[in-house]
């Protein structure tokens, strides 16, 4: 160990090339799956590869994608949030109750208020998990029920159709020929990728998820960062709720219900570890795309609704196996 350091330096440099490419490659394990799905889709239905259909897929997935982004951040930091799916429905619903459609100029406040509600739910989760030192799994499982319960109780279980204009805008507008939702999801993913790849705060999520004690010893304010991540997660889920509301033109009592399974599936097949500290935002994005394409192909193929669930599950398992084989390491 102590001898011959100088001759070792060049070998270190030459080894950097291929290994680096390999780590990048790990991020791309789902790309072949996506290509395969595009090819299969093209054979299944000629409509599949048209820009109109693909735009449609992206728009349908943009709300789910934001929740996946939120969950990926939380998972990388070594925590868990199941309550995000309830926030998707509850935050816009409460906003509508606070600011009815006929409130005129107040309507502009709808989006900020909705985001604040989401952030508050995230902050409360963080409070219970960090200050009370409760298990994230159990806390957010309870919060999933509590938040959805609030939604049902306050709306009387009815769908809301009379909404302020501004709440509908983001989910239905078109910017530069593409739905605004796609732009929003795209920009936020780009911000996520850059932050987690190139900024100290972003890297600190990996340090915390990998070994919280080590992160603390390195001077990272672990509690503050994790709390912030929960708050951002809640706000992203609320934003997802806004996009979904605009796309559908109303808020059903079941908005967001059941999403969390897809969210975890997308994050995990995208390479984000349930144990924390591992995975990338880009990976999570490829996970969302796989899920979206599968769903679209099933619809085009006219698979009856009753069978969709099964096909869905099987395809997720296959994607997991492919990414496991391509990624090399055992998945947690």
């Amino acid at each position: 160990m102590t001898t011959s350091t100088t001759p070792s330096a060049p070998t270190a440099v030459s080894a950097a090339g291929p290994r680096l490419r390999l780590t990048r490659f790990r991020d791309l394990t789902l790309v072949p799956v996506i290509v395969l799905l595009l090819v299969v889709g093209a054979f299944v239905d000629p409509v599949f590869l048209t820009p109109g259909n693909l735009t449609n897929v992206l728009q349908q997935q943009s709300a789910l994608a934001l929740v996946v982004l939120a969950e990926a951040l939380i998972l990388i930091a070594g925590k868990f949030d199941l309550s995000l799916e309830s926030t998707v429905g509850m935050a816009p619903a409460i906003t509508v109750l606070l600011i009815p459609a006929a409130s005129g100029g107040m309507g502009l406040l709808a989006i900020p208020i909705c985001l604040l509600i989401g952030a508050a739910i995230g902050a409360f989760n963080g409070f219970l998990i960090l200050k009370f030192q409760l298990s994230a799994f159990v806390v957010t499982l309870a919060m999933l029920i509590v938040v959805h319960g609030l939604h049902l109780g306050l709306t009387g279980g009815k769908s809301l159709f009379e909404l302020p204009e501004s709440l509908l805008y983001l989910g239905s507008a078109t910017w530069l020929g593409l739905p605004a939702a796609i732009w929003i999801a795209g920009v936020l993913f780009a911000v996520g990728i850059v932050t987690l790849g190139y900024f100290r705060v972003g890297r600190s999520l990996y340090a915390i998820g990998g070994n919280a004690d080590a992160a603390r010893a390195a001077g990272i304010r672990v509690e503050r960062v994790v709390w912030t991540v929960f708050i951002i997660g809640g706000a992203l889920a609320a934003l997802a709720g806004i996009l979904e509301t605009g796309r559908l033109g109303g808020i059903s009592a079941n908005q967001g219900v059941g999403w969390i399974f897809m969210v975890f599936a997308a994050a995990v097949i995208g390479g984000v570890s349930m144990d924390g500290g591992k995975g990338t935002i880009f990976g999570a994005l490829t996970g969302v795309l796989v899920i979206g394409l599968v769903e679209n192909i099933l619809t085009l193929k006219g698979v009856p609704g009753e069978w969709k669930q099964l096909v869905y599950g099987v395809i997720i398992l296959v994607a997991l196996m492919i990414s496991r084989v391509a990624g090399g390491k055992a998945q947690d």
Binding site: M1, T2, S4, T5, T6, S8, A9, T11, A12, V13, A15, A16, R19, L20, V194, G197, Y198, F199, R200, R203, S204, Y206, A207, G209, G210, N211, D213, A214, A215, R216, A217, A218, G219, I220, G277, K278
Partner: protein, 490 residues
Amino acid sequence: MKNHVEARNIVKRFGPTVALNGAGISIKEGDTHALVGRNGAGKSTLVSILTGLQRPDEGEVLFSGEAAPPLADRDAWRRRVACVYQKSTIIPELSVAENLFLNRQTAGGPIKWKALRARAREVLETYQVDIDADVLAGDLGVEQRQLVEIARALSFGATFIILDEPTAQLDGPAIERLFERMRALREQGVTMMFISHHLDEVYEICQSVSVFRDARHIRTAEVDDLPHDELVSAMTGEATATYTYRSRTAGTGVVLAAKGLSLTGRYEAVDLTVRSGEIVGLAGSGSSGKVGLAETLVGLRRPDKGVVSVNGTPIKDVPSALKAGLGFVPQDRHHEGFVPLLSIAENATIPIAHKLGRFGFVSPASRRARAVEMIKDLDIKTEGPDQPVGDLSGGNAQKVVLARALADDPKALVVINPTAGVDVKAKQSLLGAVEDAVERGAGAVLVSDELDDLRVCDRVLVMFHGRVVKDVPRGWSDHELVAVMEGIEQ
């Protein structure tokens, strides 16, 4: 010489427990200073106070005569004191380069990965660590990770470094390399505080030593002025005779036998017979294959070739080995030894649960009674049989693991590194318990990295690169055995 580091009258309480009670330490500039004490003496608490991770309730810490910086200013602390903690602070999912510059990848703005890797290579080169900066830290071995930690610690510019039990997980040659590095650092003027349970290491590498006991500072002395016996009695608070090894004669019955055992990459063509009433030691460096062999003897690993038999019954896995009358203490008690949340009683009686009741029912009363017996036999320091094993100190947890191994009165006993991370007194009662079992008629295999443990053995088999190269009878000298372990002599 000036004092580089000083802690005065430190008091630290955790709820009702007093971890440090008016303790202090002062370390001269350029010294390598040992901190010794039994488990629970307050060493770890002192480390976290000296590194600024915890605030003392009373007392002060001085660096080169100046008051320590405020706790929130991590960077200021890290410029003054570096620490290689007992628990690894390497993040396995990140690259070596990023681990070196954790939370200081950039002064501000985006991280420039190429420049970061270059800086990492520079640091590794400065401290002569021959490791590729781009590999994932999780892919490194224990020794390499430790080198990365040392390089990282020093790269902050600190000239005082704390090494908290750095040798606990290293094998002989790696420890030697670590000591070489420590000597080189000392020549460069670095002050060090070294914590270890191995007193011979203290005598080898340190100039001065402080002894802690029961949350207090007991004694500080130059190593040369403090004989081994006095050091031990300062630690234990009583004059202890050094452990006396009992003599005995082996019986004739073979309780554990292995014939033509081979496992690719671990060991080759090993024959072994253990008779009742004898202890056979297995010695060798970390790569000698001794642990792999021992794990095969208990059924944890399946050999490519050869057969292991316990009491004449060939075994194929752990349950069959246990059924044939084998008891064992695994290498890593935390991973394989006990279930931390379960009580002492439950942990210790797992193998005899079927004898404590009928039809799968386990009688809590008889379980408790057995556990109380075990606690007495092995002198386990505990509140009672219902205390979770996870709450016990290392030595006492290890006693529970040994109690479990002995629960069914085994005919053959395999014990792997029983005294790792265990203090002097616990060590003696662990070895004593093994000797007791052998006197009751068992035959034992004792695998250890520590020469002192191996002295209880009637003979020691030395392994080198997967082969048993020598069968050494009792009465060997350290030098003799080490020479064979390192492959210098046969």
